[in-house]
């Protein structure tokens, strides 16, 4: 058996043992399962990060939406039009917004290389400042700091539909050739996507809001669904450690599926009276 698996397993048991010993004194009671889940998930992801860093080749399937990012910017360049990037309507405390801004960094690198103008209307002031930093760094890294200007990332409104109206106005007036919707969205998603569709822009969307995914799938050319969106930054960076974390995430998902199947089976056996152990009592 792999030495690292043994080491990490011992570490997991050790940490859990410490937690159980300290329960009620140092640690709170009744959170054993949650703590174990967090440690298990962390160890699993870190194990695969470690393996990837050691040189293991990790296969990632093609995600068309991510591969189309550069193509979309290229299309805008050929048409002589701008690129519109919408990082969602929520603040930086949402993981989707952070992910969206990570992708903004990649898109900004492409626009810097291709000398295409980039327009990033935002809904929150902190996101504006973070977006500016990211764009500035990307333009600097691409060797084109002269193309960067602060107002490429600009604030519109905190109010959801005022923001949607503002972005729609930008789309109708400037007619960008490529529109990216990558972040946290709510009801305004369809308004943005349909307007983008009506101006003939290529649209790539990604969000962590399950209820908005169908709207983006209907109206956009490419949609990053579920975890595809969250892995985007790691996927595009191509760094082994980050790619390893994607595999770790997939293994955690496999563990969750196994747990679900076991729960169904054991609960079924318990309800049929074949075993005395009620697995639901663990939760």
């Amino acid at each position: 058996m792999n030495n690292k698996v043994v080491i990490w397993s011992v570490l997991f048991l050790g940490v859990m043992g410490l937690y159980i010993l300290g329960e009620g004194t140092i640690f709170v009671e009744g959170a054993r399962l949650l703590f174990a889940s967090i440690i298990l998930v962390s160890i699993t992801i870190y194990y695969y990060i470690d393996r990837a860093s050691s040189g293991e080749d990790i296969y990632l399937r093609k995600i068309p939406g991510l591969q189309a990012l550069e193509e979309a910017v290229g299309r805008a360049t050929e048409m002589g039009k701008s690129v519109l990037f919408v990082p969602g309507i929520m603040d930086l405390d949402q993981v989707e917004t952070v992910t969206g801004l990570n992708l903004l960094g990649h898109v900004a690198e492409y626009t810097a290389q291709y000398e295409t103008s980039l327009n990033v209307p935002v809904s929150r002031s902190i996101v504006m400042e973070a977006g500016r930093e990211i764009c500035k760094e990307s333009y600097l890294k691409s060797g084109r700091p002269d193309l960067y200007y602060d107002d490429m990332v600009h604030y519109i409104s905190d109010e959801q539909f005022a923001y949607a109206a503002g972005v729609n106005g930008i789309m109708e007036r400037e007619k960008p050739a490529a529109c990216f919707y990558l972040g946290k969205f709510y009801a305004e998603s369809l308004i943005l996507a349909e307007t983008g569709n009506s101006i003939g822009a290529i649209q790539i969307a990604g969000t962590g809001s399950p209820s908005q995914i169908p709207f983006f799938v209907t109206a956009c050319d490419y949609t990053l669904i579920g975890e595809e969106f969250f892995t985007a930054s790691a996927y595009l960076s191509n760094k082994p450690e980050l790619v390893g974390s994607i595999k770790g995430q997939d293994i955690v998902k496999l563990l969750v599926m196994i747990a679900m199947v076991l729960t169904v089976v054991f609960n079924g056996l318990y309800q049929a009276g074949w075993i005395a152990f009620d697995i639901l009592s663990l939760f």
Partner: protein
């Protein structure tokens, strides 16, 4: 590098680990930080940061007007709207109200009648009872946006009351008070504008459905059939569709779904027509006109679609997204993913 990379990273890792594992530490201070302070710090920062955004927006719109760039006329509206909101929230309180005390002897009924007329109360006796019962100053239950509009009432009451005062609701509470300028702006400008933008969704849903719901392949057809059933089932009209119409819709749906697998078009048409005829004949003989089966009720089918396939897909998406958030947060907390700091 220290200020731009290392210090932010140390703050990130420190606070991230503290917030994550703080849930499990049996210490009141840490629990308080994790549950209350941590999120409130963000809210305080975000509240101050709003000035940055507002000034940026104002700067861009003003530059557009000054330089007379394309469509600069719309920027005038943006600036006026901004100025009006600031004025209504921070400078003009409005929300005036009248308090009175020491009603002159024998004038209670007159004063009650004047107040009742002012607030459209049909029974002045109710006002009189409240006036008699009030031990401190009596507040007239009406808010005046301007002090001028209140003055006419004050003049009417003046001969009958010794002490009349015109006051304003406190700063802050005035934005929520019905009758204040800010409240008027919210109800008469912001609310209809917001509702209008949301109403656009209806039109966009229509054009998106029209364009996207095509029988291109198996999945698209499944989406089409489910979409039609859900749209009809969610509204009362779905329950009025008779069983035979539902069976026709279902047969067409089944045909559309199986169309990619049946090459012979005449065979497909024959199966569809035959199916419809058989169901209608069976239904007529089995008395479905009086007692239609639940399976042939659009709302029941819609409920099933919601309860099983939609729920399963929704749960799977939620679990996937939650895992994605966990993994992304893990990468950020351990300092592996620094791209949001600009470091790739």
């Amino acid at each position: 590098m220290l200020l731009k990379r290392h210090i932010p990273l140390m703050i990130l890792i420190g606070v991230g680990l503290l917030t994550l594992f703080g849930h499990f530490i049996n210490n009141e201070g840490i629990q308080n930080f994790v549950n209350n302070d941590a999120t409130q710090w963000f809210d305080i920062i975000a509240s101050f940061a709003i000035f940055l955004g507002a000034l940026n927006m104002l700067k861009i719109q003003l530059m557009k007007i000054i330089k007379k760039q394309k469509n600069w006329q719309y920027s005038i509206l943006a600036v006026i709207g901004f100025a009006f909101a600031i004025f209504a929230g921070f400078f003009y309180r409005g929300a005036n109200f009248i308090t009175l005390s020491d009603v002159k002897d024998g004038q209670l009924a007159v004063v009650s009648a004047i107040i009742a007329e002012e607030i459209n109360e049909s029974n002045p006796h109710l006002i009189q009872t409240k006036l008699e019962a009030s031990q401190t100053a009596f507040e007239i239950d009406k808010i005046y946006m301007t002090s001028e509009s209140a003055k006419s009432v004050i003049e009417k009451l003046h001969p009958y009351v010794d002490t009349i005062e015109l006051k304003s609701k406190p700063w802050g509470a005035h934005v929520q008070t019905k009758g204040s300028l800010f409240y008027w702006m919210f109800i008469n400008i912001i609310t209809p504008l917001g509702a209008t933008m949301f109403a656009l969704l209806a039109f966009f849903v229509a054009s998106a459905s029209y364009r996207a719901f095509r029988i291109r392949n198996f999945e698209a057809t499944l989406l089409l059939v489910a979409g039609i059933i859900l749209m009809l089932g969610r509204v009362p009209i779905g329950g009025l569709i008779p069983w035979w119409a539902v069976s026709i819709i279902l047969m067409f749906g089944i045909s559309a779904i199986s169309a990619p697998f049946i090459k012979e078009r005449s065979l497909l048409l024959g199966l569809t027509s035959g199916g419809i005829i058989i169901i209608i004949i069976c239904g007529t003989f089995m008395g479905w006109n009086q007692h239609p089966p639940e399976l042939l009720s659009i709302p029941v089918i819609q409920d099933w679609i919601f309860a099983y396939p939609t729920m399963a897909g929704s749960r799977a998406l939620m679990i996937g997204i939650a895992l994605g958030i966990v993994a992304t947060s893990f990468r950020i907390i351990i300092g592996l993913d620094k791209s949001f700091l600009g470091d790739k």
